[in-house]
């Protein structure tokens, strides 16, 4: 089972490689990937340096071109695929069928992985991408229970990668319109959920307020942990009560489920967080490397070390972790 770590910049890529990642994933500095944030990601020189650093040490590099191009911007996506092919990356993570077709036509040597943004939740959907574009791997969205995941993995024509750790949202990846609704921009086409230019944090007598395009998203009392200012993690007045009506600001942590994921044949564990710093990547990569190694050595006797869980807890959004949808008995 592989460990796939995020790299939003060159130092993060290096620490991921140095601390046990089997593969790292990255993006270019534009809207062709779903972490299009100010100052994040790789320019051409840094991309070349990073890819060399990783590949020389036996770590593979995946590049995300996983947004959905709109008609006016299409040349940027072509250019990104061409650049990826020239850089010699190990796989392209994509979601849009036009981008996949372009890659198949112009850079057939590129390995394609279906992005989580593709929102494929069944073996049939994965098979479609395999039959038409020859994808080599699929990253599944975080909406499946373990039972459902097992069904997809067993019937999928390609290896399956799932998220093991990181921030959670409502997880309708590739289809969520909440950010568009408030700001006009979304991860799907612009590459950023709740773009920073629309975000305001204000200290007020009633607490720390986060606003998205002037809409109040949340108000945190003193000492209360904050989260990313996305609409899905906002607090709403519903039937006279104020609370998290859609999603709580929590992080996914599947470490305890590792033996089950391993047994069902999941090929890779993906860590979320290209927007986080090199410290986060180092902490999380170190802990997950140790956990995956321990689990592979002795799956039936595997128990997460409390010290590992403490590290993961401390870097989590909202400082709470959950199994997400993996433990939903009704699904």
């Amino acid at each position: 089972m592989e460990l796939v770590c995020p790299a939003g910049n060159l130092p993060s890529l290096k620490v991921a490689v140095d601390h046990g990642a089997d593969a790292v994933y990255m993006g270019f500095r534009d809207d062709t990937n779903a972490r299009h944030f100010a100052g994040l990601n790789f320019n051409d020189k840094r991309a070349r340096d990073g890819i060399r650093y990783a590949q020389e040490r036996g770590t593979r590099v995946f590049l995300a071109i996983n947004t959905y191009p709109q008609p006016a911007g299409w040349p940027r996506w072509e250019e990104a695929v061409d650049k990826a092919a020239n850089l010699g990356i190990d796989a392209l993570i994509c979601a849009d069928i036009g981008v996949m077709q372009y890659a198949c036509d112009h850079a057939p040597q590129l390995n394609l992985h279906l992005s989580v943004q593709g929102s494929a939740t069944s073996a049939e959907a994965v098979s479609f991408y395999h039959d038409h574009f020859g994808i080599k791997r699929a990253v599944l969205p975080r909406v499946l229970s373990l039972k459902q995941l097992r069904r997809v993995v067993s019937a999928s024509p390609v290896p399956i990668e799932v998220f093991g750790f990181g921030s959670l949202c409502v997880m309708v990846e590739g289809r969520c319109l909440l950010s568009s609704y408030v700001t006009g921009q979304s991860p799907n086409t612009y590459g950023a959920c709740s773009p920073a230019s629309a975000v305001r944090w204000d200290k007020t007598p009633r607490g720390l307020e986060s606003r998205l395009n002037e809409v109040l998203i949340d108000r945190y009392a003193d000492g209360e942990n904050a989260g990313y200012p996305t609409l899905c993690k906002g607090r709403f007045h519903v039937h006279g009560k104020t609370g998290y009506a859609i999603e709580e600001p929590v992080s996914l942590n599947t470490m305890e489920l590792l033996p089950e994921l391993l047994a069902m044949g999941v090929a890779a564990i993906k860590i979320e967080g290209r927007q986080r710093s090199p410290v986060y990547v180092e902490q999380v990569a170190t802990v997950w490397r140790a956990a995956i190694d321990a689990c592979q050595k002795n799956p039936s006797g595997f128990h997460p070390d409390p010290a590992w869980q403490q590290v993961l807890q401390s870097v989590s959004e909202g400082a709470q972790t959950t199994f997400g949808a993996y433990h939903r008995p009704w699904q």
Binding site: G8, N9, L10, P11, S12, F37, A38, G39, L40, R46, P195, A196, S197, V199, R200, W201, D202, K203, L208, Y220, D222, G223, E224, N225, A226, G227, Q275, R276, S277, P278, V279, Y280, Q283, S314, V315, S316, E317, G318, A319
Partner: protein, 158 residues
């Protein structure tokens, strides 16, 4: 806590300290400024307030030089935190989002400017900076001293 001890010391005048910091920042970020990596600070004022010690300033980029000045009301982004947490960030011992989630660092104003700054700092290869060894030793020494004296500080407060 270290900053509680420092608070009891007589306050040094801020202007010379600011001047020295300005010289230092221009030195270590010379390459980044030349490569236009700090252009997001052009015409934008970034205010830093350090809780517990007399350190606060406005930072901007003018004519390819970082400028530090006395705090004003004309800031675009304000960041507030303790000296200890800023040191943890500078030494790459803590993640900025972690400190933000835990409410140990607060930002107000132009969030995108803050994101630029955070991502600029995260993308620096610290070993490439001038004085990197000295800087690392200094920061780690100060953090270690804080960690050592924090229990004592707490005990004295009781």
């Amino acid at each position: 806590m270290l900053h509680r001890l420092i608070r009891r010391l007589p306050r040094p005048p801020q202007a010379p300290a600011r001047f020295m910091l300005e010289q230092f920042l221009n030195k270590i970020f010379a390459t980044a400024i030349a490569e236009e990596e700090l252009d997001f600070l052009n015409d934008n004022v970034f205010q830093v307030r350090v809780d517990g010690i007399p350190m606060e300033f406005d930072l901007t980029l003018k004519n390819d030089k970082l400028k530090l000045s006395h705090v004003s009301d004309q800031w675009d982004l304000r960041i507030t935190g303790s000296a200890y947490d800023f040191m943890l960030l500078a030494a790459r011992r803590e993640d900025a989002d972690t400190l933000f989630f835990q409410r140990r660092i607060t930002t107000e104003g132009d969030t995108e400017l803050g994101l630029y700054l955070k991502n600029f700092l995260d993308s620096l290869d610290l070993s490439d900076l001038p004085f990197s060894k000295w800087l690392e030793q200094g920061l780690n020494g100060a953090i270690a001293m804080h960690d050592r004296f924090e229990p004592l500080g707490r005990a004295l407060q009781r």
